[in-house]
């Protein structure tokens, strides 16, 4: 038997911090993003005519001047397309037809030979509006006085776990009724009741949305897009246009930052719709940075009411929480944020009596979409401050109070589901220890006050119960391995994780594995979407199954050729070995051509192609009246963060000196990548805590630029950050793994708010905690003059 000339030590890549598979192409500038693709001189450029008013009936759209402009190849309006589009609730026309519902709503689209001509043509489109009353506040939006934004709400297609209320602005209402909340208040020794207003923010990917579409003369659609969700885009665009899914091909190169903003469908259906009018031509739409702030999607605003009480020992007895989500003009995706915050409405605490009402409300604000955390950062912002207050009210240390009440293995959750094994308590204890809980450090200057704060979190992947994943593993003449997945690399490291799992399951060195990019819905295996921190777990299961399938094919082939039993064979370091005969053979010789039988008696085997898929089958429905059911979600990732801050009494400036994070990831497939998520998520959370809010005036976003909407820079991050990996295995996760991407920013706002309280003794309330807001709060409290 031929032996490999160069022996290589096989890394056991599970649990190894191997470097990112696509890192090199990203540092030399050769990694291709959608805007980098070249389409030649025939490319047309699209621009969008957007509504200048927040709510109005469209009386007329006059496109004649735009059409007459030389260089304009197509003008499309709502009259051209009758369908609706949407993920959970199909409430969104591709272009507005009878009315506009927010400033930025697309009224018409233009394709022209240059961006400048397209922009000029957009300016020539005349729209006559008849203004309607407006809804800018979700609490007002649910009242009978509010104008109804979607009179056709009862006619829209809707997923069977979403409950719109036709005739109102309620796109979804999720209810929890558990135990007896009313009676429980009498048992409480302390009760805290608070209201928070969490502002809209934006994902702010460095790469703005960009798509290119081409429609052939036979109607086949090709779409290149910066997308977390090529398969969902294929499906939703096909359904909306009334074509077959197989006639839509979506090609998705690397994504320059997603954070949920490039999930579902945002601009892509418009580009396809325009391209349908110029068959054979490629049409490109790239949002300007200004458009990116309001015309794709934003994180929903939230008005939240919390009431919670505990007995004299600090045991939580009851919660009554109400969430009014500012879903914006279309809630096709946002309705499920409402549901997620409903079934997780108690936060990571075991509470016997819970009422919760979570409403998704139509408003005349930009479209609220998924963003990293999917409702959890917003909800935890208030909830974890109330928990802190309640601990103080009953005279317990906030860490002790959380230890008593946080969910543990077998806890009965707010939906009635039983908690799986979880390392939340361990995360809490380790976080508190790392931040030096209970020790007060002196401030760095006389005009500064120092404090520490802590917060917990939980989050489940929010998705349809049957969101699936699939993967292929194929081998090449040289023994290297190609992994095909439909899950996207958006910076979180999914391709590296996939390669590690394939290498481990197959038995080859990590550096033999390639992950195919770009994704292509014609050739990549199906993946629901790259969202919900679900890829490591769900796609990971599919990749592992595919690699094991390939492994079985290889072992069966060799067993037949050698007349041995499969059980006696193994694949190690890219070679099949027999523990019995001590024979070995390199994969490169056999995975394409098979193995010749002795004495020219023919061949066995052939090209190896492993396949794997995964879909959770155990999630149950919940009673619409009570939100109760045996299994609301697949699992929860839990964790904790703590910070130390310093508040400048002269300016109100909050500086985060130190951050600590601990999350139970089940199993860290790549520990350094897990740490990197914890860091990046913490800083994104810090940015939302201290700086970020979209400011509105009559529905207009006042700060759609990097100058006026500040995000954290290299000067804002703490000098000291520590991340701690907790590993309590997930029973159906690959090697026990569950996700971490979103969770890392969930508890940051309340951890910082609690630290500010520890520093200056006042609750600043709703974020962001800008210098101005903190200084004004100190002024109100008489702390400064």
């Amino acid at each position: 038997m031929q032996r490999r000339a160069k022996e290589q030590k096989t890394p056991q890549p599970i649990g190894d911090s191997v470097t990112r598979v696509e890192a090199r192409e990203k540092v030399v500038g050769s990694a291709l993003f959608t805007d980098d693709l070249q389409f030649g001189a025939g490319l047309l450029y699209a621009r969008i005519k957007r509504s200048s008013v927040p709510h109005a009936l469209i009386k007329s759209v006059d496109t004649s001047k735009a059409r007459a402009l030389p260089g304009v190849k197509a003008v499309v309006t709502g009259a051209d397309f009758t369908g609706y589009i949407g993920l959970y609730l199909t409430d969104r026309p591709i272009f507005c037809r009878d009315r506009v519902r927010y400033i930025g709503d697309p009224v018409a689209g233009v394709a022209a030979v240059s961006e400048a001509i397209a922009e000029e043509a957009v300016g020539l489109i005349e729209v006559e509006y008849e203004p309607l009353p407006v809804v800018f506040d979700p609490e007002f939006g649910v009242t009978p006085e509010a104008v109804v934004l979607h009179p056709d709400l009862g006619k829209y297609d809707v997923a069977n776990f979403i409950f719109p209320k036709p005739g109102t602005n309620i796109a979804n209402h999720f209810r929890i009724r558990k135990g007896d909340v009313q009676s429980a208040w009498a048992e409480c020794a302390a009760v805290v009741e608070r209201k928070y207003r969490i502002p809209h923010i934006q994902h702010v990917p460095l790469e703005s949305h960009v798509s290119i579409a081409r429609v052939d003369n036979d109607g086949k659609i090709k779409l290149w897009s910066s997308s977390q969700s090529p398969f969902a885009q294929r499906n939703l665009i096909a359904k909306s246009l009334g074509v077959s899914q197989s006639d839509v091909q979506v090609i998705a190169p690397y994504v320059g930052g997603g954070f949920g903003g490039k999930a579902g469908v945002t601009i892509e259906a418009m580009v396809v719709a325009i391209a349908m009018k110029v068959k054979g031509r490629c049409v490109k739409l790239r949002l300007t940075r200004e458009e990116e702030f309001y015309a794709a999607s934003v994180r929903q605003g939230l008005v939240a009411y919390f009431k919670m009480g505990c007995d004299k020992n600090g045991k939580l007895l009851a919660m009554d929480n109400k969430y009014f989500w500012d879903g914006g003009a279309y809630c096709e995706y946002g309705v499920n944020i409402t549901r997620a915050s409903g079934y997780s409405s108690s936060g990571p605490y075991e509470v016997p009596n819970v009422n919760a009402d979570s409403y998704c409300v139509y408003t005349n604000h930009p479209v609220g979409g998924p963003m990293r955390g999917f409702g959890m950062p917003e909800m935890h912002s208030g909830l974890e401050q109330c928990i802190d207050e309640l601990a103080h009210a009953i005279g317990l240390d906030p860490v002790e109070f959380r230890k008593i009440n946080c969910v543990k293995t077998d806890s009965i959750l707010v939906t009635g589901m039983k908690m799986h094994p979880t390392g939340l308590t361990e995360s809490l204890v380790k976080t508190a220890e790392a931040i030096g809980w209970g020790k007060k450090e002196p401030a760095s200057a006389p005009n500064k006050r120092r404090g520490k704060g802590i917060a917990l979190m939980w989050k489940a992947p929010a998705m349809p119960p049957n969101a699936g994943s699939s993967a292929n593993v194929s081998l090449n003449e040289d023994g290297t391995v190609n992994v095909s997945v439909g899950g996207q690399e958006i910076g979180q490291g999914s391709f590296t994780i996939a390669a590690q799992m394939a290498a481990a399951a197959l038995g080859v060195p990590f550096d033999w594995v390639r992950v195919n990019s770009p994704l292509n819905t014609d050739t990549s295996p199906y993946e629901w979407q790259t969202v919900a921190s679900r890829l490591t777990w769900s796609m990971g299961n599919a990749v592992t199954a595919a690699a094991r399938d390939a492994r079985q094919q290889i072992l069966a082939m060799v067993a037949k050729a050698w007349d041995e039993k499969i059980e006696d064979l193994d694949i190690i370091d890219g070679k099949v070995i027999s523990y019995k005969s001590e024979e070995s053979i390199s994969l490169k010789d056999i995975v394409i051509y098979g193995i010749p039988l002795p004495n020219n008696q023919g061949w066995v085997g052939g090209p190896v192609l492993g396949r794997g898929s995964f879909m959770p089958t155990y999630v149950t429905g919940l009673d619409p009246k009570t939100g109760q059911g045996p299994r609301a979600v697949v699992h929860y990732t839990t964790g904790a963060q703590a910070v130390e801050v310093e508040v400048d009494m002269d300016t109100g400036k909050v500086e985060v000196l130190k951050g600590v994070a601990a999350f139970d990831v089940g199993k860290a497939i790549n520990p350094e990548m897990v740490n990197a998520q914890m860091e990046g998520g913490f800083v994104q959370g810090l940015s939302t805590a201290l700086f970020e809010s979209l400011r509105f005036k009559d529905g207009l976003v006042l700060n759609p630029s990097f100058v006026d909407y500040r995000i954290a820079t290299s000067s804002d991050v703490p000098r000291d950050f520590q991340s701690i990996i907790v590993e309590v295995a997930q029973d159906d996760g690959p090697w026990g793994a569950r996700g971490i991407g979103e969770h890392a920013m969930v508890p940051t706002i309340p951890a910082i708010a609690n630290a500010i309280y520890d520093a200056i003794g006042i609750r600043v309330g709703s974020p962001p905690y800008t210098s101005e807001s903190v200084y004004l709060a100190m002024l109100d409290a008489g702390l400064v003059e």
Binding site: E207, G256, G493
Partner: protein, 160 residues
């Protein structure tokens, strides 16, 4: 919209390009010469994704007209590695895990290179200040700062 013929050096190669008056350096690099490693993040000089070296100084290429570059020497991310050998900061940013989505990375690397060219031993404060114009939404900057410091140390070892 007259075209102008300009001659400049990009990543060590002499280039002759015809550009309209209003075309930016960023547009010329990406659309005329297919140096697409340099990214377009805001077109307003605010995010740093389009940073390139112009005569040794880091500039937002979206804020420089192509015609201004006549006679200049430009280095883009594609010009950082020499003969397939990565610049130290390209190597350290990989090892420290300072790359996630990768969209800010080219501009970040150029700003880091500019810093290391003018200051072989930058403090953490110097590094933070040098990168403050390069926005990143994924990494939280910490690993990028660490990788620049590490690159400086490796360069010093090399030059000893």
């Amino acid at each position: 919209m007259a075209n102008h013929r300009i001659i400049l050096t990009i990543n060590g190669e002499t280039e002759q390009v015809e550009v309209p008056s209003q075309m930016t350096l960023l547009q010329m690099l990406r659309e005329k010469l297919a140096f697409t490693g340099t990214k377009n993040g805001c077109m307003a000089g605010e995010c740093g994704a389009c940073t390139v070296l112009m005569d040794g100084e880091p500039v937002n290429s979206c804020m420089v007209l192509a015609v201004e570059c006549h006679g200049s020497t430009i280095i883009t991310v594609e010009g950082l590695a020499k003969d397939g050998v990565l610049h130290p900061v390209q190597q350290t940013i990989i090892e420290h895990g300072g790359v996630q989505c990768g969209f800010c990375t080219p501009g970040m690397l150029i700003s880091a290179r500019a810093l290391l060219d003018r200051n072989a031993d930058p403090s953490e404060e110097d590094i933070r200040e040098a990168l403050v114009g390069n926005l990143c939404r994924c990494t939280g900057y910490i690993r990028i700062i660490d990788s620049v410091r590490d690159a400086a140390e490796r360069q010093q070892v090399l030059s000893l």
